[in-house]
């Protein structure tokens, strides 16, 4: 029996992504069952990949590397890349903990919101003063939110650039809900930034983040949102307090002055 092979030009076209229609389907079906054509396709793919080298290299702007490394540093606070990849399999990756990429769209959305409201106000015959006040309230809220985002971004940048900043990955305690969080802490500055994910809390319960100092009682940092990825949040504590660990505990709704419930997440300093 004579074995028929695919047309040689189809391998090149397929490797380029240029083969289309029925020819593409027929080619794919053939390659799946033909070792020789499969090998030919592999060689074609290698040749095609090399085409990129025909372009002269070009240096990207220095800010690209800076932004990349900033995102990576924040992510590193949440564990090694490999650990995060495994975590990512269990849930859709979160753009917030993943870095600051969310900031641009968030600000853009806020801007669009401002523009939309301004346009709406310009076009409408505003007869309902109550509605106007409601819109003004939303506008102020959105503006405040955008300031918060910008402020937290600036604080985190500052934190990352300061000597003595430690990164702590908080991981789920055995048998507890599968959350995780990353903390950046600078004892000298008395500044903590955290971001992370916690599943929904039990009814009438809250998750609370604590700084466990080398000496003395745990210090409450904040009650964390549950059931969603949190935006990076900054908290200030008394400067000079060395941290032994950070922990998240389950507490009565609204939080407690001192931890009373079980530890959900725990991370020790570097």
């Amino acid at each position: 029996m004579t074995e028929r092979h695919a047309n040689p030009e189809d391998s090149d076209l397929y490797a380029l992504g240029a083969l289309d229609g029925e020819e593409k389907q027929a080619y794919e079906a053939h390659v799946r069952s033909c070792a020789a054509c499969s090998q030919e396709l592999k060689a074609a793919r290698e040749r095609v990949a090399l085409l990129a080298l025909a372009v002269d290299p070009e240096a990207p702007g220095p800010k690209v590397k800076e932004r990349l490394m900033r995102r990576v540093r924040l992510e590193a606070a949440g564990g090694t890349p490999w650990e995060r990849r495994d975590a990512g399999k269990r849930r859709k990756e979160n753009p917030i903990l993943a870095g600051w990429g969310w900031l641009t769209p968030a600000l853009a959305l806020t801007t669009i919101f401002f523009a939309a409201v301004a346009g709406w106000m310009g076009m409408q015959d505003v007869r309902d003063v109550g509605r106007l006040h409601a819109v003004e309230g939303e506008l102020a809220q959105a503006q405040q939110h955008s300031f918060e985002i910008a402020r937290t971004a600036a604080e985190t940048d500052k934190l990352l650039s300061m000597p003595g900043t430690v990164r702590v990955a908080l991981k789920a305690m055995p048998g507890m809900p599968q959350g995780r969080a990353g903390v950046l802490y600078n004892a000298k500055m008395g500044m903590v930034t955290c971001a992370g994910y916690l599943p929904a809390a039990p009814p009438k319960k809250s998750y609370q983040l604590w700084l466990v100092p080398m000496q003395g009682n745990p210090v409450s940092l904040r009650v964390l949102p549950a059931g969603e990825w949190t935006q990076p949040m900054t908290t200030h504590v008394a400067p000079g307090m060395e941290a032994k660990a950070f922990a998240v505990t389950e507490e009565p709704e609204g939080g407690m002055p001192q931890p009373t419930g079980p530890k959900v997440l725990l991370g020790v300093g570097e």
Binding site: N7, P8, E9, D10, D12, L13, L16, G17, A18, L19, D20, G21, K42, A44, R45, E46, R47, V48, A49, L50, L51, A52, L53, A54, V55, D56, P57, E58, A59, P60, G61, K63, V64, K65, R67, L68, M69, R71, V72, R73, E75, A76, G79, T80, P81, W82, R84, R85, G88, A98, G99
Partner: protein, 185 residues
């Protein structure tokens, strides 16, 4: 003394990244960003878009470094395949056909990665040979190849754009690839 001059192999940098070493990623970025950005700019012709794709690519490398098996292929080959696919997707929009991230990219063996200075030199020589080979192609062959590679067009689209019969487009692409193959041997 010589050891100090030898670049750290990609495989070692990948292992260090998997352990959370950010400097390893920075080294790989310095090594390949220029090569990738040149290609991304050629495809996208937009600095901001090209920088976004470049950053996302290295973030993916950081997050999924364990997916790359250095014993099966070269890292720059993998990066080039993924970068091109991403750029073509951006260029043609979300609703148009775009090549998927191709696992075959892992298997590319013909692109040396700098485990040592000789391999780095080999990569640079290869690039120079390709540039010369592309320059020798007849205009219509180079056009067909570039429309497919840098603009992500299908053979049908190339035929429409160049107003050439489909069979002619196939022949032009084939002839161009054969010429490049000869220059690379």
């Amino acid at each position: 003394m010589t050891a100090l001059l030898q670049p750290i192999p990609d495989s070692a940098l990948i292992e260090r990244m998997m352990a959370g070493d950010e400097q390893a990623l920075a080294t790989l970025y310095d090594r390949y960003a220029g090569m990738l950005f040149g290609m991304l700019m050629r495809i996208l012709k937009d600095t901001q878009l090209a920088e976004e794709v470049l950053q996302d690519l290295f973030l993916q490398l950081w997050r999924e470094s364990g997916r790359f098996d250095a014993t099966r292929g070269s890292l720059p080959g993998w990066l080039l395949v993924i970068a091109r696919n991403r750029a073509i997707s951006r260029l043609r929009g979300q609703h148009r056909r775009a090549p998927a991230d191709d696992p075959e990219g892992f298997l590319l063996e013909s692109l040396p990665s700098p485990g040592n200075l000789e391999e780095e030199a080999a990569r640079l020589q290869l690039a120079e040979r390709l540039r010369r080979a592309m320059a020798t192609l007849p205009g219509e062959q180079r056009e067909a190849l570039e429309l497919a590679y840098f603009e992500g067009m299908t053979q049908t689209e190339i035929a429409e754009r160049t107003r050439a019969p489909l069979g002619t487009v196939k022949s032009r692409v084939r002839a161009a690839m054969q010429t490049l193959k000869q220059h690379l041997q």
